[in-house]
Symmetry: C2
Subunit: 330 residues, 2 copies
């Protein structure tokens, strides 16, 4: 009698287990709920479905499923200015106490006075000078810690949120979707790689070793039993345009099969992923939503899409309308 | 009756499942069977056990468990010459047909004639010239394909095996053991990174993006709808000595907690992993087995251990005796 009772419990448990399995084999929940149905979402879903299906001609083994994403304007908001530029301007203001000479020296003077407060107000050489001044003679850990503190204590003026909350919800879903399908996802940014590394794991689920970006020459410093690696005041790479393709080759050792950007600086990366007979997928965010975010491209000095928009058709890239393709932005 | 029979089968199945679980909780098989018992093996096992044990003070979260390995002399045999040097000499001989001028030009003449057949016969500048000549104007894919063909068609003279079989069995076990315990394992080689990438996945289970090494400047080449990245005849980095620490910082974005090398060129990498109050583990292979492999260090121009042997004690590094600590070599 007892054994029959126990057996019944087992039968019940097994039946429940079978039920659970059946549920698992039901169609999976939509992995991209913030994306509106349409040709863009279809292109992404079809690409992932085919490249992960062993019996499909476009199948790609997991170890070659490399996806690369730009950061500014692609994963998070870059308007009205690059977040890193705002960080650098604040660093200059903070460092000013120890540099009284800056009150008479450009470009520092007009940052401190607030006369020029956007990166577009500065020449390329001035911007490089600001980048070098705010980064050099620090270890990566020291720099990341300064960046992390700043990100925790500042907010986007219009959205009233920390910048790390001004990331695009549909893009977070896309990162997770690709990762769940065996893709190794990289950020390939024109920004400083340590700046992005300071929040990439927490915000995007992308570890520091999968962030490739602009960087300084380094120096190995030995001091008794303590060694460290320090940023020299000399830029090693500005990771934009063709540099993105070269850095991808150097760091990853193979071409991506998926590349997503938003500006002319991402074109080489998309070409690298989709050139020749490859079935790679290239996408560009089109900032065309003035109500929920911003509308810019050909008109704005930030995140220009001019050339990308012009050649997307010829290269078979998807132009993602943030207004029409996304249910939500943040 | 039938239901009782079915129930009995379920009971049997459940009992079997329980048995299986009990087996799983039994002590795991030795993950390092080719290592002799002793202080070196204990140091490795203790380090891995502690850094992966959440309640131990030395616990390190999985995302920070970075391990870096040198290649030549650490993972595979580098004697009597670096494998990559032998590849380069053969490349020169193969390319000679298209370079009749090489018959009168050093260092090519004496490679072709066989007068000088070891890398130690050449000056540093000659070695760099040979490296540049045999690598430039190729894409990484083209270069890796040449390296792969060569590795498949040549053998180590003494061991009568392809070089990719002249890898150290205890080291393969160690790579697997660390990976199974959540470590992300990198090769950090003074050799060309694409040379090592041509076999790292197959031989070591380490994907190309986890190989950091010497490399050339690259050029992005656009040709209608085809783009590629080509090696320029200009060295970007010779990844040896302090460069190893700098490349680790640049590529991985954090310090390793485990570093394993065999020569003076690995010292900075080991220091970077073990400096200050960190509980990182550093190890150096000591080639002291003339019967099963080779005995060299202070005496040989290949893989010198001079300084490493001298400072290992002070830094708390393990000197691994290949003769005493390893049951088998290959």
């Amino acid at each position: 009698m007892i054994s029959i009772a126990i057996a019944s419990i087992f039968i019940l448990l097994v039946a429940m287990a079978v039920d659970e399995n059946e549920e698992k084999s039901a169609p999976a929940a939509d992995p991209l709920p913030s994306w509106n149905e349409g040709s863009t979402k279809d292109a992404i879903m079809d690409f992932v479905t085919n490249t992960t299906n062993e019996s499909h001609p476009d199948y790609v083994p997991a170890e070659e499923r490399i996806a690369t994403f730009d950061n500014d304007g692609t994963l998070w908001c870059e308007y009205p200015d690059y977040v890193q530029s705002l960080f650098m301007f604040d660093r200059i203001r903070e460092m000013a106490a120890e540099h009284p000479e800056w009150n008479d020296t450009e470009p520092f003077r007009s940052i401190i006075s607030g006369e020029r407060s956007y990166s577009t107000n500065f020449t390329v050489n001035e911007s490089l000078q600001i980048y070098v001044t705010t980064s050099s003679n620090l270890t990566a850990d020291e720099y990341m810690s300064l960046a992390g503190e700043w990100l925790n204590s500042t907010q986007h003026l219009r959205f009233g949120q920390p910048y790390t909350k001004c990331v695009y919800k549909p893009m977070l879903e896309l990162l997770s979707y690709l990762q769940s399908q065996g893709f190794k996802v990289y950020i390939v940014t024109g920004g400083d790689e340590d700046f992005v590394r300071s929040f990439s794991e927490e915000v995007y689920g992308i570890p520091p070793e999968q962030v490739i970006g602009s960087a300084f020459k380094l120096q190995f410093v030995e001091n008794n039993s303590s060694v460290s690696v320090v940023k020299l005041p000399q830029i090693l790479v500005m990771d934009d345009g063709p540099e993105k393709a070269k850095e991808i080759q150097q760091n990853i050792g193979m071409r991506p099969i998926f590349a997503y950007g938003n500006s002319n600086g991402d074109i080489a990366m998309l070409q690298f992923a989709t050139s020749d007979s490859r079935h790679g997928l290239g996408l560009l965010n089109h900032h065309d939503d003035p109500v929920r975010e911003y509308a810019y491209d050909r008109q704005s000095p930030i995140g220009r899409l001019d050339e990308g928009l012009d050649i997307a058709g010829e290269w078979g890239w998807q132009i993602v309308s943030m207004k029409d393709d996304w249910k939500e932005i943040f």
